[in-house]
C-alpha cells in the first residue's frame, strides 16, 4: 500500500487522476474502520488533511461553501447560525472524538443511507462541488446519491466542498437510535421551511436505499400553507395537516428490516419524527414573528 499526502488541491487531483482506485482519507472515521478490519486494502491511500484550502468555509450570496475538510465539531461551533439543520444533525453524530475528525464531505463520499448529514443537506437544498484534473462541476444533492453507498461521482473525482443554501426559515432535525450518542440512525428526518420561496424541504435517512426527499409531503404542506394563508398569518397549524404530513413522509420511505430496526418500525418512527419536526419548526416560525 502506498500513502500519498498532497499539500495542494492540484496535486491531489493529479494523484486521483493517475490512480483512480486510490481511497481518499480525511477524518478516517469510515476508512480506518475498513483498514482495521481488513475489509479495505487499497493500493493507495490519499490523505487530504494537509490541503489547507479544504479546511476553509466561505459565504457567497448567503450560501455557505463548506470545504471538504471542515469537521463536524467546527460545523457546530462556527456555523450553527448559518447552517442550523446541518449543525443539529452534526450534534447527533458519534462522540466528541468522532466529531473532531469526521467531515460532511466524508459522509457524502461514503454515501451510506444512514449518514446523518444527508437529510439536513436534502432539506436545506445543497450542491456537491466535485473536481478532477478535467475540471470542476456541481452536482445537485438530489442527483448525488445513486444507490447504497454509490454516488454520481466519477472515479477520478474528489469532493472539494458542499454548497448549502442560506436558511430563510426554521430548520429541524430528528434522529432515532438506541442512545443519544454513538449510534447509527435507525431512522432520521430533516425539515426546512423556505418562506422566501414558499416551499418546504425534507430529507429521510436510514429508511431507503439512499437518502431521499419526501416530495409528496413537501408539496402537500407547501400547498396547505399557501391556500390557508399560513405563511402570512403564522396561525397554528391544524392537527390534521401535521398528521397528514407525517403520513406522507412515512409513505416516501422504502426501508428494510435489519439489526437496527424493522421496516414497519422505521415507517412509524418517520411519521412521528416528521410530525414533531414540523411542530417544532412551526413553533419557531411563529415565535420569530413575535420577535420581529
Amino acid at each position: 500500500m502506498d500513502f500519498l499526502q498532497p499539500v495542494t488541491w492540484a496535486e491531489a487531483l493529479e494523484a486521483k487522476a493517475a490512480h483512480p482506485d486510490a481511497v481518499p482519507i480525511a477524518g478516517g472515521t469510515d476508512v480506518m474502520v475498513g483498514l482495521n478490519f481488513g475489509h479495505l486494502r487499497p493500493a493507495l491511500l490519499l490523505d487530504l488533511t494537509r490541503i489547507a484550502d479544504l479546511r476553509d468555509w466561505q459565504v457567497a450570496d448567503g450560501a455557505v461553501r463548506l470545504g471538504a475538510g471542515v469537521s463536524y465539531a467546527r460545523v457546530i461551533s462556527e456555523l450553527g447560525d448559518r447552517l442550523p439543520g446541518l449543525a443539529m444533525a452534526s450534534r447527533t453524530i458519534g462522540s466528541p472524538q468522532i466529531r473532531n475528525r469526521g467531515t460532511v464531505a466524508g459522509n457524502l463520499a461514503t454515501a451510506s443511507p444512514a449518514g446523518d448529514a444527508h437529510p439536513a443537506l436534502l432539506a436545506a437544498g445543497s450542491e456537491v462541488e466535485v473536481a478532477s484534473a478535467r475540471g470542476t462541476r456541481r452536482i445537485p444533492i438530489d442527483d448525488f446519491y445513486t444507490g447504497v453507498k454509490r454516488t454520481a461521482m466519477d472515479d477520478d473525482e474528489l469532493i472539494a466542498a458542499v454548497h448549502v443554501a442560506p436558511p430563510s426559515g426554521p430548520q429541524q432535525y430528528s434522529k432515532i437510535g438506541t442512545r443519544n450518542a454513538m449510534v447509527i440512525a435507525v431512522a432520521a428526518f430533516g425539515l426546512a421551511l423556505h418562506p422566501d420561496r414558499r416551499a418546504v424541504g425534507t430529507g429521510i435517512g436510514s429508511a431507503a436505499p439512499t437518502p431521499r426527499r419526501a416530495p409528496a409531503a413537501e408539496e402537500f404542506l407547501a400547498g396547505e400553507l399557501d391556500s390557508s394563508g399560513l405563511w402570512e398569518s403564522r396561525a397554528e397549524l391544524p392537527e390534521a395537516t401535521i398528521a397528514r404530513f407525517g403520513e406522507l413522509v412515512a409513505a416516501a420511505a422504502a426501508p428494510i428490516d435489519d439489526v437496527r430496526g424493522s421496516a414497519p418500525y422505521r415507517v412509524h418512527a418517520l411519521s412521528v419524527m416528521a410530525r414533531r419536526a414540523l411542530s417544532w419548526a412551526w413553533a419557531d416560525y411563529r415565535s420569530a414573528n413575535q420577535e420581529a
Binding site: G27, V31, M32, T49, A73, G94, Q97, R101, A181
Partner: protein, 162 residues
C-alpha cells in the same frame, strides 16, 4: 515508511510503519506506549483517546501517516515526574477505576473537558464522555471523579478553604 511526530513533547522516529496501520498501533507496538488501549478499533469505545494537535480523537481512526509532524498527547503524558495529574488522582480517590481498561481514554477525555469547561455541569460531562464506554462502573463513580477533579483543579494552590 518512516514516521516522525512529537509524542508527549518528545520527537519520535519510527521506521517500517505499514501505510495502512493506525496511530494507535504505532503508539502501542512501535513506540512502547501501551497506555492507550485497543478495544473496538472502530471509534466506538474511546479507550484509545489521545490528543492530536490539541483535540481528543480516537487513535485507532488516525492513519499513521496522518500523524506525520503532528503533536500527539497520550495518557502517559498526563502525570508529572512527582505526582499523578489531579484527574488521575481523582479517578483513584473516587473509585472510578475497576478493570481499568477504559480508564486511559476517560482520563484524556476528562482532562480535555476540564481544560475547556473548568467546572462542567453533569450534562456537559455526560456529553463530553459519551464516546467513552465503561462496562464495569455504571459511570456514577466516573461522574464523581470528574466533579472531584474539577473541584480540586479550581481550588487555589495548597487546598484552599472552599
Amino acid at each position: 515508511m518512516r514516521l516522525t511526530c512529537t509524542v508527549n513533547g518528545t520527537e519520535q522516529h519510527v521506521d517500517d510503519v505499514w501505510e495502512g496501520e493506525s496511530l494507535l498501533y504505532v503508539l502501542r507496538e512501535r513506540m512502547g506506549l501501551p497506555g492507550s488501549k485497543n478495544a473496538c478499533e472502530q471509534g466506538e469505545c474511546g479507550s484509545c483517546t489521545v490528543y492530536l494537535d490539541g483535540l481528543p480523537v480516537c487513535a485507532c481512526l488516525v492513519a499513521a501517516g496522518q500523524a506525520e509532524g503532528r503533536q500527539i498527547g497520550t495518557v502517559e503524558g498526563l502525570a508529572g515526574p512527582e505526582a499523578l495529574h489531579p484527574v488521575q488522582q481523582a479517578f483513584l480517590d473516587a473509585g472510578a477505576v475497576q478493570c481499568g481498561f477504559c480508564t486511559p481514554g476517560l482520563l484524556v477525555a476528562t482532562h480535555d473537558l476540564i481544560a475547556r469547561h473548568g467546572r462542567p455541569s453533569d450534562a456537559e460531562t455526560r456529553e463530553a464522555l459519551a464516546g467513552n464506554l465503561c462496562r464495569c462502573t455504571g459511570y456514577e463513580k466516573i461522574l464523581d471523579a470528574v466533579r472531584l477533579a474539577a473541584d480540586r483543579m479550581a481550588e487555589p494552590a495548597a487546598g484552599g478553604d472552599r
